[in-house]
């Protein structure tokens, strides 16, 4: 036992130097839980609730994977990570998957040795300012101090935006998002920039949320989604299709409330395939036949998850917008489960 502890410590210390293990699925089954990297607290996406349980739409992706693999959405352990730590934690095998409002970019998908398994939130970068500054548009931000989180696409987009518009700015770069918000709230910066969903979520942490406004411009595309290590395709497939199953369920009208009835009465072949009554989708993924049933029953479909964590009835209060189903004019388009 002692020998094992020493070995684990050494493994952590040398990280990448240890032999690559491609079988994440086997590892996950052996240890009995999914180790999921999340944010250090972004309301609506991944944030501990009053009783200390992690909740949010990013957390629900982890829960969906656990439901698909174990049949129990609670078999997840969470690792809170800063933006700076997240990729090394995944590369070194400290976590099995990363579901942490992470933008899908070419460099991350290739040079960092990662794979994006899909998009669970379409976002774009915005700016927040104090109302009493009298700013109406992002083009009036010349000379402003801007608080931003390190290691994000936000940091680069901001540089691009100010450079493209020939404006000067002073970046103030923090490692933790809470520090960024605190610095902005104290007046160290004129502008706080991050993804628009992040602005909406962090706004509830400000002393006087009503004294701030989000400028109308969206300066970037930020497709956020779960990430796995490059080269482990089976595990990548499981994460990808767990997410797709949630979106497909919404399109089919299957919810956590009616999934049991649907299972008995469904006539639509697509719904039957989704619920594991036809075809052998589960077997192809290396999972049980009720993998998607477990996801929908225990976590819910994408629409339910959205409404529960970031929808108009929550403090975050974000309309579906681009995150609506494609059938409703949005971008959420599940690949066919067949």
């Amino acid at each position: 036992m002692h020998y094992k502890t020493v070995f684990a410590a050494a493994a952590l210390a040398v990280g990448l130097a240890l032999p690559a293990s491609s079988g994440t699925m086997d590892d996950v089954k052996a240890k009995g839980h999914v180790q999921c990297g999340v944010s250090q607290g972004l309301p609506g996406f991944s944030n501990p609730d009053q009783s200390g349980n992690w909740t949010g739409i990013d957390v629900d992706v982890c829960r969906a994977v656990a439901a698909a693999v174990f049949g129990d959405a609670n078999m997840v352990k969470y690792t809170p990570l800063s933006a700076k730590e997240r990729f090394t934690a995944l590369q070194s095998g400290e976590i099995d998957m990363l579901s942490r409002n992470t933008t899908w970019t070419l460099v991350r998908d290739t040079a960092l040795g990662l794979d994006f398994a899909g998009v669970n939130f379409y976002d774009g970068q915005g700016f927040m300012v104090r109302k009493d500054k009298g700013v109406k548009s992002a083009s009036e931000l010349d000379g402003a101090s801007v608080c931003v989180n390190i290691g994000t696409t936000t940091e680069l987009n901001m540089a691009d935006f100010f450079r493209a518009n020939g404006m000067k700015y002073e970046p103030v770069v923090f490692e933790k998002s809470d520090e960024v918000v605190a610095a902005y709230d104290a007046g160290r910066c004129d502008v706080y920039t991050t993804d628009r969903s992040g602005l909406a979520a962090q706004r509830v942490k400000l002393k006087d949320p009503g004294a701030h406004m989000v400028l109308p411009e969206t300066i970037s595309k930020e497709p956020l989604g779960p990430v796995v290590r490059h080269g482990d395709n089976q595990w990548g497939d499981i994460v990808r299709w767990s997410l797709i199953a949630m979106i497909e369920a919404e399109e089919m009208g299957v919810t956590s409330g009616n999934v049991d009835d649907m299972r008995k009465m469904a006539t639509n072949p697509a719904t039957k395939r989704l619920l594991g009554m036809e075809g052998d989708m589960g077997k192809n993924l290396g999972l049980s036949t009720d993998w998607s049933y477990n996801i929908i029953k225990q976590v819910g479909n994408y629409g339910e998850v959205y409404e529960r964590h970031v929808g108009p009835d929550t403090p975050i209060g974000l309309a579906r917008g681009p995150n609506a189903l494609w059938t409703n004019g949005g971008l959420m388009y599940p690949m066919p489960v067949r």
Binding site: P19, A83, L112, A159, V173, R188
Partner: protein
């Protein structure tokens, strides 16, 4: 082989494998070989794994466009500069904060160390309380204290504290006028350099005269006079070709002038206050290490307390002080990497932070960063060793 019993012969040689020197050499070679093999295994395995996971490697990224901006730059830098340039900018920021921190910590540390030995009860107790409190609180907490508790209560730019419409202090930092050098300004620094040479000559002449005749010469006052007078004369002759660029509140912030960002101020205060408490103890122990008899002997030779301290006590105390003082300088430099916690754009925040994230080349960047800190530390160490050798007791 038989061992002969007669004592007169040469000592019997042990067989090859039982010779302690051979054994020692063999075991050392084995251990060294093991370590090298382990190192080769680690490096090779890392490369193979990075290759198999498609993680890019190599140092090509240093010439690529960085694409991000840095809050404080001592040399020209913009978003179109390379990662290599960003590295130099952040390295300079680290060196700047270390150099200022070392200067202030030394000054404060010597003052408090001497105050600690004062015969005045109040002064000595105050110094003791300072040392005991400051050196027992973790540095990171102190940095947070100065940055989040002290500097955050400053007013917004519109309500800045101001002095003579030229100096402004607010939440965004201290804004001071920037000197603009015009043609002919070079005369002033040249005057200063000439002054330096003159001071060195005067000091040498004064020492020779003292050694020959025993007469004292007020070298310090004369030196100050020369160093201040020559540049002033040069300036007066050229009509002071210097103007000032004043900071002006325009839009969100002050534009123009020079800015001392609050992150730098908080870091310098925290680092120097913290390190000074250790230096104070080093200084106290150094002075106490000089035996009381030395002071008494100096006094009995007729030296007044000032010269006694300067000529007898301090040179002996310095021998004890310098090696542990070097350690404190190294600590301060390494501790400056805590800058990342309060957004001061140092090597760790910019290079091992933003650049690492944007390129994803963790192994290369962390290796470079470690090599840089190692180089800085070894350089400080080498410089202090040189100084130590100069101050060490010369046996005649």
């Amino acid at each position: 082989m038989t061992v002969s019993g007669d004592a007169g012969g040469a000592p019997a040689r042990a067989s090859f494998w039982n010779d302690p020197r051979v054994r020692a050499a063999v075991f050392q070679i084995l251990v060294l070989g093991g370590i090298i093999l382990f190192g080769v295994y680690i490096v090779n395995n890392t490369l193979v794994n990075m290759e198999s996971r498609g993680i890019s490697s190599g140092f090509d990224f240093m010439t690529r466009t960085a694409g991000f901006d840095i809050g404080m730059t001592l040399i020209g830098y913009d978003e179109a500069s390379s990662y290599g340039r960003a590295f130099v900018v952040s390295l300079l920021n680290t060196l700047l904060v270390s150099a200022i921190g070392i200067a202030f910590a030394t000054l404060l540390g010597f003052l408090i160390g001497i105050a600690r030995l004062s015969s005045n009860w109040l002064i000595s107790k105050l110094a003791e309380v300072y040392i005991e409190i400051i050196r027992n609180i973790p540095l990171l907490l102190q940095i947070f204290f100065w940055y989040f508790a002290v500097l955050r209560v400053l007013p917004s730019p519109r309500r800045s504290f101001e002095l003579a419409d030229a100096f402004f202090l607010n939440l965004r930092g201290l804004f001071v006028p920037r000197p603009v050098f015009e043609a002919g300004f070079a005369a002033i620094p040249i005057g200063f350099l000439v002054g330096l040479v003159a001071v060195a000559l005067v000091a040498r002449w004064a020492r020779r005269r003292r050694e020959a005749t025993g007469e004292q010469f007020p070298t310090v006052y004369v030196s100050i006079g020369i160093l201040a007078g020559l540049p002033l004369l040069a300036g007066a002759a050229t009509g002071f070709p210097l103007s000032w660029d004043y900071p002006v509140l325009k839009g969100f912030n002050f534009q123009g002038g020079m800015t001392l960002i609050p992150e730098l101020v908080a870091l310098v205060i925290a680092l120097s206050v913290y390190t000074a408490s250790f230096i104070a103890e080093v200084v106290r122990s150094g002075i106490q290490a000089v035996s009381r008899g030395q002071t008494e002997a100096a006094h009995s030779l007729g030296l007044r307390p000032g010269p006694a301290l300067r000529l007898v006590i301090v040179p002996q105390a310095l021998r004890v002080i310098i090696p542990p003082l070097t350690n404190q300088y190294l600590n301060l430099t390494k501790n400056s990497s805590l800058a990342a916690a309060i957004a001061y754009p140092d090597l760790v925040l910019v290079f091992a932070g933003t650049a690492l994230m944007q390129t994803g080349q963790a192994v290369e960047i962390i290796a470079i960063t470690m090599a840089v800190y190692l180089t800085i530390s070894l350089s400080i160490s080498a410089a202090m060793n040189l100084y130590n050798r100069k101050m060490a007791l010369v046996e005649r």
